[in-house]
């Protein structure tokens, strides 16, 4: 059994998280384009944890409802939280001097996306990609 | 009471059917009736009434199977679901009135009758609605697959030059499929220039324009050039009014011009051969 969670503490953990995501996506039967979308989304989320929260966890699981199968990526951290959720979801907003692709980019890559953030508790992001 | 109803329905089969057909013709959606011949209509009605009556005599499973079979047929014919639910309601009405006329029900037995007919008709509602929606959903998903297969063929027309004609409305899901076909095509056919023909796209709104531009940018990333051809005047207007930047994408009005440009881009031209 493969562990479905990866603790994100240093840069190498980002690689481990996307490796895990790629394997699960492949196993579920996602095509190459969706595999790339999922791997990239995980990489972005894991990097956000590393850059802003210091540490946290990425969980990758298979999900299923009556009609379809998919993969869910859960990103959890106890960092400083995000004070203005609307702002981080705007294209081009970045605090780290990156390309500003960040969260809106992840949202576009995946089918479902939700974010909860509390300055005292940290940030929880859940994102789903359904198998077509 | 159930037995009385059954006996009445069974012995007045033809009258009920005729009356039912007349009522449904009056009440039903005209479009549904116009799509088929009169004979077909009467035949389908008869089948429906037969199905309803069979509920008396057959087991739950057998009725269920029959309902599914009939629903599939109805979906194919394009009858709306309301036709079936209204049909059931009318059927109940006809039986009630007929039995009143014959003196089978009076004030005393009416409550009995009403509860019996409800017990009879409600499970049927459920079964028929369920069967109908199931067949409907299946039809929709089959059509979706058919549409996907139809999506955007990638056609190499010369060495290094390919065309992808887009036809019909483009939604987000189709746009993704088109983008994948396009890029796979460019890479596997080693196309240097690809012409996306949007002559067959009826409406180019913000979203469609956005998808087309994204496709063109992705083509550039894999290492080819993309030209959008078939830009009609109203599409040119939309693009400019939306303030969309088309700097990296060349565009022309017709496929013919696009092919000429593509030949120039790949340092070739077509010459007439003189005998």
């Amino acid at each position: 059994m493969m562990d479905s969670s990866v603790k994100i503490i240093n840069e190498w953990d980002i690689v481990a998280a996307r490796q895990l995501g790629r394997n699960v996506a492949k196993e579920l039967g996602f095509g190459t384009v969706d595999q790339a979308r999922i791997t990239t989304a995980i990489s972005e989320l894991a990097r956000n944890i590393y850059l802003y929260a210091g540490q946290g966890e990425i969980t990758i699981e298979k999900i299923e409802n009556e009609a379809k199968k998919g993969i869910i990526i859960i990103s959890r951290d106890a960092g400083p939280g995000i004070s203005d959720l609307r702002k981080v979801m705007e294209d081009g907003f970045s605090t780290s001097g990156g390309l500003g692709a960040g969260l809106p980019g992840v949202k576009r890559l995946m089918d479902e996306f939700s974010i909860e953030s509390d300055p005292r508790k940290g940030t929880l992001i859940q994102s789903v990609k359904w198998l077509r | 009471m159930r037995k009385t109803i059954y006996q009445y329905v069974y012995s007045h089969n033809d009258e009920i059917l005729n009356e039912w057909i007349e009522l449904i013709r009056k009440e039903a959606d005209e479009r549904a009736i116009q799509t088929m011949s009169d004979r077909m209509f009467v035949k389908t009605c008869a089948e429906f009434v037969e199905l309803v009556i069979s509920n008396f005599s057959e087991s739950v499973e057998a009725f269920h199977d029959r309902a599914i079979e009939f629903s599939e047929k109805i979906v194919r014919l394009g009858w709306p679901l309301t036709m079936m639910t209204d049909g059931l309601r009318l059927f109940g009405q006809i039986v009630e009135e007929g039995m009143k006329k014959e003196g089978n029900i009076d004030h005393n037995s009416y409550v009995d009758f009403a509860s019996e007919i409800n017990n009879w008709i409600f499970p049927m509602y459920k079964t028929i609605t369920q069967a109908y929606t199931t067949s409907w959903e299946r039809t929709v998903s089959l059509q979706k697959i058919a549409l996907q297969e139809l999506t955007a063929p990638f056609i190499p027309i010369f060495d290094k030059i390919s065309v992808m004609p887009l036809i019909g409305t483009i939604d987000t899901e189709r746009a993704k499929q088109i983008m994948e076909n396009l890029l796979e095509g460019v890479v596997s056919h080693r196309a240097e220039v690809v012409l996306i023909d949007i002559t067959g796209v009826p409406v180019v709104d913000t979203m469609v324009a956005h998808h087309i531009i994204q496709a063109a940018e992705a083509v550039r990333l894999v290492g080819a050039k993309c030209t959008i051809v078939g830009i009609r005047p109203e599409i040119a207007q939309t693009i400019v009014n939306l303030g969309i930047n088309l700097e990296d994408v060349t565009t022309t009005s017709t496929l013919k011009k696009g092919v000429e440009q593509a030949l120039t881009l790949t340092s070739r031209k077509i010459v007439e051969v003189q005998e």
């Binding site: 576009r108 | 890029l183 890479v187």
Partner: protein, 120 residues
């Protein structure tokens, strides 16, 4: 632990083929190595091939965009080749356009394009 990406010299051009998934350190190391190599060899052009890479996230894209701008400052043109369809689609959806980057289908076409750009 650190893998270095080999940079080959061909006449006045540099050839790089990225064979493994890039982690952050390797990407940054590559940036440094390439700039040094350009300086050392006075190369006028660089071709970077991505055929074996199955995903690029915003960080790697940024490092890549930066190294292209930096190379240009040092007088070397960069051509990117072999970006896979899946990678192109994810980059576009992420909102990364890598404008002004010269691209080609494969290494061979990339070299041709570079020669043309350099005006030989």
């Amino acid at each position: 632990m650190n893998m270095r990406i080999p940079i080959l010299k061909l006449h006045d051009c540099l050839l790089v083929s990225i064979q493994w998934e890039l982690d952050d350190q390797t990407a940054l190391q590559f940036q440094e190595d390439l700039l040094h190599k350009i300086h050392e060899t006075s190369a006028r052009g660089v071709v970077i091939d991505f055929t074996s890479i199955d995903f690029i996230d915003s960080f790697i894209a940024k490092v890549l965009g930066d190294v292209i701008s930096m190379s240009r400052l040092m007088g070397a043109k960069v051509v990117i080749t072999g970006i896979q369809p899946a990678v192109a689609i994810t980059l576009i959806e992420l909102g990364i356009h890598l404008e002004e980057v010269i691209t080609a289908l494969d290494l061979e076409k990339g070299l041709e394009k570079l020669q043309r750009e350099l005006g030989d």
